[in-house]
């Protein structure tokens, strides 16, 4: 690669991620971005000026050496690039696709100050895909067997990451999954047009090759309690990564109408149970012609675009403005390309049903923006003006509460008033000895990468705990029921922590 000056690099145009055209992609569930070619990746990599003090790295919850791997790509050493990423990130193919780069690594990219930041996510995805397609992934070094056993609850992003870190340190790891297949939210909650199954499955296979044991159809708390795991089953520690699963509703009239789904229900029927292939797969999904989706977060975008692919005429209702939509910029952009009707500043107040309890219409109040609320965003306030849209199917996409099964079956695991599992923010120990937790279980609902970042820190501390370097007695687990739960604990600039904290608080109070 020619030596370019920073000025020359900064003048290079961004390489747009090639996408399948919207008219075509709304007819199938294929992945929307096509991915960079090696030439495109190298070209985009040239835009990185290799900052001495990069703004991107502190924005990454797992602290990837971003300029480092980009340099490898620029030099055409793609295997070197992925090797560098893998030093800190176990799931790059997934993160390259689903991380909110616009709010994390790319937000402080110096190139982005004047133009568009370097496409870090697209480059990460390129490197990971290169590795998978060329089958060049190598097993990392595994420390000698410590004789310790760790149970990991849940096979979502937190569970998979914890399993990886723990087995590398020489501990035996068994992952217990409640569903019949691995992946957790990566499978049931993220559409195939964003994250194909073979990517998730290849990461699981990799863990199996490393010696991680996976068990399905096991609901920890029910079939085995935490006490069983730590007692009779002889595990030395447990990591809970069982996620946020209990869907929120609005508490408005008509929400138990036939044709009202939670996003979890809707997406699970399709992506876990393959309801879109009914009747070959026998899980039904009943979707009428006119579909209303309530909420404009990432999951809202996933539902909207899924409903479109199932042939719906789709409208998104969101009580705040377009600019306040919490979705990842790319998801919002892709959804906007896919022929969706948008009703911002529209707050659903009632779902109208007929005599058979079937949904017929949605009634909304028009909103306007008022004073900033505790999240710092201008608060939507009612105008007293209402409208009614005829509708056949409604999907609530308002986020989730933490899955209650483990805390309800083990009272030693402390939770706050939202059901979030309380942990020591440094070590991720819970109030029960030997039990650690991370991911949505301790945040109440966040991102894949944040769950991974926490799982990694938790796994490091499980390792220390098993080696006797830290003790449970010294853990500082909050007991105040108003304590918000862990927001972020890797080295992040304060302003970003604040931003995420506010989003999380807002997320939790969104339905109230």
């Amino acid at each position: 690669m020619a030596d370019l000056s920073n000025k020359e690099r900064m003048a290079l145009p961004m390489v747009e991620m090639p996408l399948h055209p919207a008219e075509e992609r709304v007819k199938n569930f294929d992945e929307v971005p096509i991915g960079y070619s090696p030439e495109q990746a190298q070209q985009e990599a040239q835009r990185c000026i290799q900052c001495k003090k990069p703004g991107c790295v502190p924005g990454c919850p797992v602290g990837i050496d971003i300029p480092g791997f980009i340099k490898f790509i620029e030099d055409g050493d793609y295997a070197g690039a992925v090797k560098r990423i893998r030093e800190t990130n176990f799931l790059p193919a997934i993160c390259g696709r689903v991380c909110p780069q616009d709010k994390q690594c790319q937000i402080d990219c110096v190139i982005g100050k004047k133009g568009h930041s370097v496409e870090i996510g697209s480059l990460e995805r390129f490197a990971a895909d290169y590795e998978r397609k060329n089958n060049i992934r190598i097993l990392p070094d595994i420390a000698p067997d410590t004789g310790k056993r760790v149970a990991v609850v849940g096979s979502g992003p937190a569970g998979l990451t914890a399993a990886y870190e723990l087995i590398r340190n020489g501990h035996a790891v068994t992952v217990f999954e409640a569903f019949h297949r691995p992946g957790g939210v990566l499978v049931y909650g993220i559409p195939r047009f964003r994250l194909p199954l073979d990517i998730i499955d290849s990461d699981v296979k990799f863990l199996e090759d490393m010696g991680v044991e996976f068990v399905y159809n096991m609901i920890i708390g029910k079939v085995l309690t935490l006490d069983d795991l730590l007692g009779e089953e002889d595990f030395d520690a447990v990591f809970i990564g069982s996620g946020a699963g209990l869907p929120k509703l609005l508490g408005i009239k008509g929400e138990n109408g036939n044709g009202v789904y939670s996003a979890n229900d809707y997406l699970t029927r399709i992506y876990l149970m393959h309801g879109n292939l009914f009747p070959e797969y026998t899980t039904p999904i009943v979707q009428g012609k006119r579909v209303g989706v309530i909420g404009a977060g990432n999951t809202g975008m996933d539902v909207i675009r899924t409903a479109k692919r199932l042939g719906g005429d789709v409208t998104c209702y969101y009580r705040r403005s377009h600019d306040q939509a919490p979705a990842r910029a790319e998801e919002l952009r892709h959804a906007e390309q896919e022929f969706i009707n948008w009703k911002f500043l529209s707050n659903p107040v009632e779902i109208i049903t007929d005599e058979n309890n079937n949904v017929t219409a949605i009634k909304c109040e028009k909103m306007k923006l008022g004073e900033p609320d505790r999240s710092g965003r201008k608060k939507p306030v009612g105008t007293g003006e209402f409208f009614v849209d005829e509708i056949d199917t409604i999907v609530f996409s308002l986020g989730c509460n933490v899955n209650p099964i483990i805390p309800s079956t083990d009272k030693e695991v402390g939770i706050n008033r939202w059901g979030i599992v309380m942990v020591d923010p440094k070590t991720y120990q819970t109030s029960k000895e030997g039990v650690f937790a991370g991911g949505d279980t301790v945040t109440g609902g966040s991102t894949v990468i944040l769950a991974m970042g926490q799982a990694k820190v938790a796994a490091e501390n499980i390792d220390k705990y098993l080696k006797g370097e830290i003790s449970w007695a010294e853990a500082k687990v909050p007991t105040d029921p108003d304590s918000p739960g862990v927001i972020w604990d890797v080295e992040m600039p304060k302003k970003k922590k604040d931003k995420i904290m506010k989003e999380n608080v807002d997320h939790r109070t969104a339905a109230s």
Binding site: T174, N217, T268, F278, N403
Partner: protein
């Protein structure tokens, strides 16, 4: 995989109880070790099947098996009923839901099973008996050939009433007629009804004026059974509850049966399509 947590879900025994309704003994040692009266399982006979909830009529903790009754109703139950001894189900998860809410009561406990729901009341009847209660069973069906699990229920009850719509055996009419007869004779502290929704509703209507503690087991439509999807929402005392997590037993006097019955019709049309697609 060869790890010790893998359960085979193999069918060890199968008996026809009446046309289209079978009793199974299935190997699931971890679930069998933990399951309690009132809890349920979710199963998937084949890889491509829907997940469906099933109540449990018994278990053998030593042997590591579950006993279930399956009546062919939709596609998934028909598929299951075609499986034979030696076949393995694709997936079973459990135990799910909360155990039956029981105690030592002053007066009699009446356990009512309608159709395939009869099996489900047996474990609760056994537990009530073990607590020293007087336990009365009522089993109802359209005719005597469709009555299920009568002998098994008799083993755990002090008395069992049979009702048939055609009067071919026992009291002619519905389970509520037997319940009325019991009420004429003695006081009742506790009622549990498991069966078709209209039957459970009729039972609650009868006990409500008398203020009898009445529970119904709601086998609403479920997908994941862990509270994750919210498909099994049911309104109880004006609040939305998830049958899979908060239930399956609920205070029958607080359940919005009208909404529940309408919600159960949500998938009737597509279910027909599933059956048509396989030419059944």
């Amino acid at each position: 995989m060869s790890n010790r947590y893998v359960q085979s879900f193999k069918i060890l025994d199968k008996k026809e109880l009446c046309p289209n309704t079978y009793w199974y003994e299935i190997e699931a040692p971890f679930i069998a070790r933990k399951i309690e009266a009132g809890q349920f399982i979710i199963m998937k006979p084949f890889k491509k099947s829907e997940r469906i909830p099933l109540s449990i009529c018994g278990w053998d903790r030593e042997k590591g098996t579950l006993h279930i009754i399956v009546m062919s109703a939709g596609k998934t139950t028909r598929d299951l009923n075609e499986m034979q001894v030696g076949d393995c189900l694709s997936d079973i998860v459990g135990p799910l839901g909360q155990r039956s809410h029981i105690d030592k009561y002053h007066d009699a406990c009446v356990l009512i099973g309608g159709g395939y729901g009869t099996g489900a009341v047996i474990p609760t009847a056994r537990d009530l008996k073990a607590l020293g209660n007087r336990v009365i069973g009522i089993v109802g069906a359209r005719n005597k050939d469709l009555l299920l699990m009568v002998d098994e229920l008799k083993e755990v009850c002090d008395e069992v009433y049979l009702t048939t719509n055609d009067g071919s055996i026992g009291i002619e009419g519905f389970v509520t007629h037997a319940l009325e007869k019991i009420l004429e004779k003695e006081d009742i502290s506790y009622v549990l009804a498991v069966g078709p929704v209209p039957m459970m509703m009729a039972v609650t209507k009868l006990t409500e004026p008398k203020g009898i503690n009445t529970w119904v087991s709601l086998n609403a439509i479920m997908v994941d059974g862990t509270g994750m999807c919210g498909t099994c929402r049911v309104t109880v005392g004006g609040e939305t509850k998830f049958a899979c997590f908060h239930g399956p037993d609920f205070d029958g006097h607080k359940v919005d049966f009208d909404e529940l019955m309408k919600r159960q019709k949500m998938y009737v049309e597509v279910e027909k399509k599933a059956l048509e697609a396989v030419g059944k």
